[in-house]
């Protein structure tokens, strides 16, 4: 075989090997989940004994707040419990338990189901909202079923089901405002990008990959005795700012290298 032929073959073999890597990653995720699930059940029971646990976690996490309107926080404070339940890595549900507010908001427990599917598409077909490319999730579609939730009475004006006139400017505006509220996320399907609760998929990922698994860490962070140390939780943390990290004058500096 000529060198070129050998190399050409090698590339194909590498491609196969990469596919095997993907398969292993998936397999590892399943393994991880099978180990974690019983522990999560145990942990959920402990968390129930700690008052305001989820309220504290959710107010602590700055990224969480970025998805919501400020007025939603009245109802975030009603969140008594959050549970994620996985059937498989790609099929799971989020259960949120709300306490009520007399005359405004009914106590309720709502479970929303999700599934992630590989989409065999190399091009730009289908969805891809206005999101940046998320390399990790390329070719995966997260979707969900609409689930009923009773909106607060205070939201009547922006509640999409109660807006009668959706044609007027005022009506359209209220509709759009309503679609940005936490309650609109419960009707998010992932199938109508641009027309649903914005960034609904990242909001799901936030719960499933960050808030739920690391809730204890966020809880303890919120308990720090010095409030001024409350930096950057859950933030993207690109610090181009900051001190110049100089090495010795006489030599080229290596560099800052944070890993």
């Amino acid at each position: 075989m000529s060198d070129d032929v050998i190399e050409s073959k090698a590339f194909l073999q590498l491609a196969e090997s990469e596919l095997k890597v993907d398969q292993i990653e998936k397999d590892v995720e399943e393994y991880r989940l099978s180990k974690m699930k019983p522990l999560y059940v145990e942990r959920d029971l402990i968390i129930e004994k700690i008052p305001d646990f989820w309220k504290i976690v959710l107010s602590q996490h700055s990224d969480f707040a970025n998805y919501l309107r400020a007025s939603d926080f009245t109802y975030v404070d009603c969140i008594e419990d959050v549970k994620v339940n996985w059937e498989t890595v790609d099929k799971f549900s989020i259960t949120i338990k709300f306490s009520g507010i007399e005359g405004d908001f009914e106590a309720q427990t709502v479970t929303k189901h999700f599934s992630r599917q590989r989409v065999i598409d190399d091009g730009n077909t289908g969805r891809k909202g206005n999101e940046e490319e998320e390399e990790e999730e390329e070719g995966e579609l997260l979707s969900s079923e609409v689930v009923d939730i009773k909106w607060p009475n205070k939201y009547d004006k922006i509640n999409p089901d109660k807006i009668e006139d959706k044609k007027s400017n005022e009506g359209k505006k209220n509709y759009r405002t309503g679609m940005k509220s936490l309650f609109a996320w419960f009707r998010w399907t992932g199938l109508k990008p641009g027309k649903e609760f914005p960034h609904g998929d990242s909001f799901v990922t936030l719960f499933v990959e960050d808030l739920y698994p690391y809730c204890v860490k966020y809880y303890t962070e919120a308990q720090r005795d010095l409030e001024d140390e409350n930096d950057d939780t859950g933030s993207e943390g690109h610090s181009s700012e900051g001190e110049l990290e100089l090495e010795n004058d006489d030599e080229p500096p290596a560099k800052k290298t944070k890993i």
Binding site: A70, T74, R176, K217, L226, E241, N248, K255
Partner: protein, 427 residues
């Protein structure tokens, strides 16, 4: 000097406005200008961020972001409780922006200048009473505190102990802060970097046709005239006043001085350093500033010890795409104020955020919208109002305007009074 009064004097009469003035935790910072390695750092630098927002008719209309640095000179044996230190104040104007959704004409330039007046009136000691230090040492008697360096498991054990002992949260002792004092009458510098952009704070606001945009030159004229006024109104004579336009010939820079009232404007910057001294030890490091970014890049490219001031400015200018004819400038003034700053802000006119993340969070409620339509400006207002009122149990500051527009002033002045900060789209 009250913020309400200052703003009332420059907001149009018969109209009501709301104002939010956010302030970050005063925090010890690395020196503004980098020190040589191994050189003893004899300075203490305290950095505080201010963010002003103006609302009208339930819409966000104007934002101004300013950093105040107090740099103190350490004494050999520092007794932080008693020593009054020599110090210097530096006001860095970071960003100013409008949304264009004001329904009445407002004089943004006057408002901007008035807010700077207000900041100049604040006693520098106000920032020094309780400073978050660069590093905290939690060993020994502080080991029962839940801090940044406490692991999750350790924190849980501490929480458990506190519950069982009916012990309340620990309150941080004074030892965990710096308490400093400085002279009241200190050198006060103001500096800024002007560069035209579609928007500085309010995303997509340039898509609002009503928003005025300035060219690089217009922006420079706008700012230098504010600085010129401040020199006349606030500073002692003999104050240093500098303008530099990287890549521009001196003759042409001088042209900008012609209509200014202060007589000692010069070419250059207030940070000193000769043409062949190293840029790294002369150029200040400000947040979100192109000069700082360029310095960081020089570090990464291993050129930081080879780049002198002259090369720095030349390369900076080349990076600014001067081919497109954009004028950028560095403006700075440095001197003593005529009257001593002794104002202490009152509760109603300032919201002090407890942490860096809460500052960011509040600011993001204001700037996190898209301002291409009025809805963004409305949403921005309603979010921050809701948050401040229902979560913080405070309120925005209400200001009634008393300013009468005088339609018949010199045309050149009026031209700028009606213009907002926004430069015209380049190219």
């Amino acid at each position: 000097m009250r913020l309400e009064k200052i703003l009332s004097d420059c907001l149009p009469s018969d109209d009501r406005f709301e104002v939010l003035h956010l302030q970050s935790v005063p925090t010890e910072n690395y020196p503004i200008v980098t020190k040589k390695l191994g050189q003893d750092n004899e300075l203490i630098t305290v950095k505080t961020q201010h963010f002003f927002t103006l609302f009208q008719n339930s819409k966000t209309v104007f934002g101004l972001e300013i950093y105040v640095y107090i740099t103190l000179i350490k004494k050999a044996k520092l007794d932080t409780n008693n020593d009054v230190l020599d110090a210097e104040r530096l006001i860095f104007i970071s960003k100013a922006d409008t949304t264009g959704y004001n329904n009445k004409r407002i004089n943004i330039k006057l408002i901007t200048k008035s807010i700077i007046h207000y900041l100049l009136s604040i006693d520098p000691n106000y920032y020094l009473q309780k400073v978050k230090p660069l590093k905290r040492n939690y060993v020994g008697k502080f080991s029962n505190y839940i801090s940044k360096s406490t692991s999750t498991v350790k924190a849980l054990k501490l929480l458990s102990k506190r519950k069982s002992a009916h012990q309340k949260q620990l309150y941080p002792p004074n030892d965990l802060f710096l308490h400093l004092k400085c002279e009241q009458n200190i050198v006060t510098k103001i500096c800024l970097f002007t560069r035209p952009a579609d928007q500085y704070l309010f995303a997509d606001s340039s898509k609002n046709a009503k928003k005025h945009v300035l060219t690089g030159e217009g922006l420079l004229l706008w700012w230098i005239s504010i600085m010129d006024d401040l020199l006349i109104e606030e500073y002692e004579s003999g104050t240093e006043a500098k303008l530099n336009i990287p890549g521009e010939e001196n003759v042409r820079i001088r042209k900008y001085f012609r209509n200014l009232k202060y007589s000692s404007w010069n070419i250059g910057d207030i940070f000193g350093g000769s043409a062949n001294s190293l840029a790294v030890f002369n150029i200040p490091l400000f947040p979100d500033d192109p000069k700082s970014r360029f310095l960081h890049q020089l570090v990464e490219e291993n050129r930081i010890y080879k780049t002198d001031m002259e090369t720095f400015w030349i390369e900076l200018q080349e990076r600014q795409e001067f081919k497109a004819g954009i004028t950028v400038s560095v403006i700075g003034i440095s001197g003593h104020l005529r009257s001593i700053s002794k104002n202490i802000p009152m509760d109603g006119e300032i919201i002090k955020t407890p942490s860096k993340s809460s500052f960011k969070h509040l600011k993001s409620y204001i700037t996190g919208e898209e301002f291409d339509t009025e809805e963004g400006a409305l949403e921005s207002y309603s979010n921050i109002k809701e948050y401040v009122v229902s979560r913080m149990h405070k309120d925005l500051l209400t200001v009634s305007g008393t300013y009468q527009f005088k339609p018949k002033i010199k045309p050149s002045v009026q031209k700028f009074t009606i213009t907002t900060l926004q430069p015209r789209r380049a190219k």
